[in-house]
């Protein structure tokens, strides 16, 4: 088997993680239009929470639940304590960066800067299955399944439930939604909480995949945002798909490019998409 199929397999793994992260970011971004830069800090905080619990012998289920709660609290705190009080979108962006600086450096302060490995809860996750000569790690399959289930379930909820209709309403026109009696503040608290939980799941999978280190939030977040923008304007499932697609493309680009160029590749893709198709690959065109 050649290089490309193997890159494709690892691309699916990376794509699933970036897809989750992009989806989690999109959940709060489209309704609030707030650039939640502290997302990077939340991702790191989630992986360290999970790691510090499970390394002390606490079961992975409890670890997961606590991590989800911690992330949701952090995400909502960013919104309620800081973003909500700022009017200018540039200020939101900067404060998000500052919050992320605080989170990741506080973690470095407490845990040191040395990267740590995170063991999956079941040894079998380290195994590999062979399908027609192609070696597929079980972890990749698990990642793909989790991505599809989480993103799929929340997407369906957005399109079917009353709350979901409100989320879409606020995403497309906050003022009109407010006029229609939707409490956008409560709604944003919910999307920040759910978005952060999705981010936590992505963070844990990322930790299994490549370990943890205090400054490891930025790049995954940037890739995720990139994927979300490529995916399309105001489209949550499009954002997830965009993140997934970007992960696959990034891994495939390793076939010809050194890994240091991954960032550049990702942003070249973004800039081309933004210039050629501003509404994104899956986005609907909206007349300004």
């Amino acid at each position: 088997m050649g290089v490309i199929p193997n890159l494709l397999v690892s691309g699916v793994g990376l794509g699933a993680i970036l897809g989750l992260l992009a989806f989690g970011f999109a959940l709060s971004y489209w309704p609030s239009r707030q650039f939640h830069f502290a997302y990077a800090g939340v991702v790191v905080a989630a992986s360290y929470t999970y790691w510090s619990l499970t390394i002390h012998g606490i079961s992975w289920i409890i670890g997961l639940v606590v991590t989800l709660i911690v992330s949701a609290v952090l995400g909502v705190a960013c919104y309620a304590l800081v973003y909500r009080r700022l009017t200018d979108s540039g200020a939101v962006f900067l404060s998000g960066f500052a919050l992320s600086l605080i989170l990741s450096n506080a973690i470095q302060w407490g845990f040191g800067s040395v990267p740590s490995l995170v063991q999956p809860p079941f040894a079998s996750l380290g195994n590999v299955v062979e399908v027609g000569g192609l070696r597929i790690p079980i972890l990749v399959i698990v990642e793909l399944v989790i991505f599809l289930v989480v993103a799929g379930a929340i997407s369906i909820a957005i399109y079917r439930s009353r709350l979901g209709v409100a989320v879409r309403g606020v995403s497309s026109d906050p003022d009109l939604a407010q006029a229609a009696g939707i409490n956008s503040n409560r709604l944003l608290i919910i999307v920040y909480a759910v978005g952060s939980m999705v981010a936590a799941i992505g963070a844990i999978l990322l930790a299994y995949q490549s370990g943890i280190s205090p400054n490891d939030g930025f790049n995954p977040m940037l890739f995720a945002i990139n994927g979300m923008l490529v995916g399309g304007r105001r489209s949550f499932s499009g954002g997830a798909a965009g993140g997934f697609g970007l992960g696959v493309i990034l891994q495939l680009s390793l076939w010809k490019l050194p890994s240091a160029w991954q960032t550049t590749t990702a942003f070249v893709v973004l800039v081309i998409i933004v210039l050629v198709r501003p509404q994104g690959v899956f986005g609907r065109k909206v007349e300004a």
Partner: protein, 621 residues
């Protein structure tokens, strides 16, 4: 003692970098995370060229500045087309790319091992071997560069940049060279940042990829935000605080060396969040141009036909005889210390430049009013949006020095027509001639400079600027390189004349976001009049105004026309328009349905049927 000098030199470098970013982020409103990339380019240029003995220090600075200028042009190009946060993300990507390049391009940068042994600063054979002498040189440079940027910010160029920050479309409509201003500002900023990088490399003698990173870029942004976006000296002070913090922290707290790094970063984060929440405009916010009483008194006669006396802030009204010394005393624009010399009588050359411009504009006005050539000829204009025909086969002529009204219900195609004449919308078919010259495919900026200036229905004022500054941006020559670097007094005088004429002088130093709706409309008109337009397109001037305000506006329009300009008023206030204009056009469903004198048009049965009938019903209902 060396430690203190070392700190001084590093502070100087950060001051230069922060002040350079302030021009972009504060004055021009470009939110970029890529500024540290220019520091890296400058630093690596100096490091590579001097350690390989290709050049000495000074030429290496110019190489760095040159490369930075190229990168700056690439970065400036999408500023006007990418929406805010996407641009920020893209600049972030550029920063990450530069950092990853300096790590992975090992043959050039020596990768993460870095480049040691960069020779010390030497200028013209003199090597600054002691820390103290380098530090003093750096500090002097930092002060000079800060002075330079302060001067740019206070100049007509800086005011135009701030205007663009508030509304690019409005700046375009006034004929400001928005692309040139963006590119020029970006290159200047990049050049200073690159110089700071070179200075850093020569000072520390060592450079590796961890020196100028995304974190550096954000710290620069933090310096600008904490100091006060747009306020050069406050940003310089902010950068001192931020760059001293990691060095002062270990002195006042018992933190171990390994903790200082992350602890400082946490503190930076806390300070930045606190600042954004508590003082969103920074410790010392941007200062507007403030004009003291008497400043604009002088002997120069007003360049426009308005005869109102120049008077600011209720100052003395007498027009004084020429008195250079008195002028010098009077010409004090506070918070513009650096500009004083150029505004006073001590700089006659600049006055001549500006005065020459005005006199160049005046003859064209006169000539055009004499000529029999129509001001504007519109031929068979059509515009479609998808399947919707917004405009079909519209032709008409505007006679010179005549007030023409364009009436039509909502959706009749008035705004589309205005957009096409002013160059903001490209027609599908047809052509436009201005004084016999085809301008169908000329950009809005060039059209405005040729004399076609529009106002906007939604005003698009430069919200963060004062009334006076709004009008100053409209004055021809403002924002153009050849007008020099100061703020010519004649520019202020032209603006002040208009304010006087429109009874806006009481609001000269007030930011327009804080003034009433009626006054805002007047500011929009004043800004357009300041351009000395030959053809003024006024979109909905009367809606929302009181009768008195409408009267005042009409008087201004009449005096504008009597000085030779041509006016097209677009409104759906039929009463105000018909009672005031010389000539009337009526549109319905994208076509012209009537044209002629107001009396003739208003008695046209088709017009009554299509427009006035409905309007009366609406008014009754």
């Amino acid at each position: 003692m060396d430690y203190v000098w070392e700190l001084g030199a590093l502070c100087a470098i950060y001051v230069i970098a922060a002040v350079s970013l302030n021009l972009l982020q504060g004055t021009m409103g470009v939110m970029t995370i890529a500024q540290a990339a220019f520091l890296a380019i400058g630093g690596y240029s100096t490091a590579i060229l001097t350690t390989r003995h290709i050049t000495t220090f000074v030429p290496s600075i110019f190489v760095g500045v040159g490369i930075s200028a190229v990168v700056a042009i690439l970065l400036a190009w999408p500023v006007l087309s990418l929406s805010g946060f996407i641009y920020t993300i893209a600049s972030f990507a550029v920063m990450l790319t530069v950092t990853s390049l300096s790590t992975s391009w090992t043959s050039l940068t020596n990768g993460s091992y870095g480049i040691p042994g960069i020779p010390q600063l030497s200028v013209g054979g003199v090597t600054l071997s002691s820390t103290a002498s380098s530090a003093v040189t750096y500090l002097v440079l930092a002060v000079l560069i800060t002075l330079g940027f302060a001067r740019i910010t206070r100049s007509h160029w800086g005011i135009a940049m701030r205007g663009m920050r508030e509304s690019v479309a409005a700046a375009r409509s006034l004929g400001k060279p928005v692309v040139g201003i963006t590119f020029g500002g970006y290159v200047l900023s990049a050049a200073a940042a690159s110089l700071a990088g070179s200075l850093y490399a020569a000072f520390t003698g060592y450079l590796d990829p961890t020196v100028f990173t995304v974190t550096t870029a954000f710290l620069l942004v933090a310096m600008v935000v904490i100091g006060g976006r747009g306020n050069v000296w406050a940003v310089a002070a902010g950068s001192l605080v931020i760059s001293l913090l990691p060095n002062l922290l270990p002195l006042v707290t018992p933190l171990s060396a390994s903790i200082v790094g992350p602890a400082t970063q946490v503190l930076y984060g806390v300070i930045l969040v606190a600042c954004l929440l508590l003082r969103p405009l920074g410790l010392v916010p941007e200062r507007s141009l403030r004009v003291r009483p008497n400043v604009l008194q002088g002997s120069l006669s007003a360049p426009r036909s308005f005869s109102g006396r120049v008077r600011l802030l209720g100052g003395a009204t007498a027009v004084r005889a020429p008195d250079p010394v008195g002028q010098r005393d009077a010409a004090q624009v506070s918070a513009a210390g650096a500009d004083r010399a150029s505004e006073s009588g001590a700089a006659p050359a600049r006055h001549a430049v500006a005065a020459g411009k005005q006199s160049a504009a005046a003859p064209t006005l006169a000539a055009s009013s004499d000529s029999t050539m129509p001001a504007l000829k519109v031929m068979s204009l059509s515009k479609q949006y998808g399947g919707v025909r917004a405009l079909s086969d519209v032709s008409f002529t505007l006679e010179t020095a005549v007030i023409t009204g364009l009436l039509g219900a909502n959706g009749a195609g008035k705004s589309t027509l205005l957009g096409i004449i002013s160059g903001f919308i490209e027609p599908n078919a047809g052509s436009i001639e201005l004084f016999g010259k085809d301008i169908t495919h000329v950009s809005p900026t060039a059209r405005a400079r040729a004399g076609v200036v529009r106002t906007f229905q939604e005003l698009r004022l430069f919200e963060g600027l004062t009334t006076l500054e709004n009008v100053v941006v409209g004055v021809p020559g403002v924002g153009r390189i050849r007008t020099g670097l100061g703020l010519p007094r004649s520019v202020l005088r032209t603006a002040a004349d208009l304010l006087e004429q429109l009874d806006l002088m009481r609001l000269a130093n007030t930011r327009v976001q804080a003034i009433s709706y009626g006054d805002r409309k007047l500011v929009a008109v004043a800004r357009a009049l300041a351009t000395g337009a030959r053809l003024l397109l006024v979109d909905e001037p009367f809606s929302g105004l009181t009768d008195r305000e409408i009267e005042r506006l009409c008087a201004i329009f009449r005096s504008t026309v009597s000085s030779g300009a041509t006016l097209l008023l677009i409104d759906h206030n039929a009463q105000a328009v018909t009672s005031f204009v010389d000539h009337l056009l009526v549109m319905d469903h994208g076509s012209l349905i009537a044209e002629g004198s107001p009396e003739k048009v208003t008695s046209d049965p088709a017009v009554i049927e299509a427009y006035f009938g409905r309007q009366v019903e609406e008014a009754d209902g």
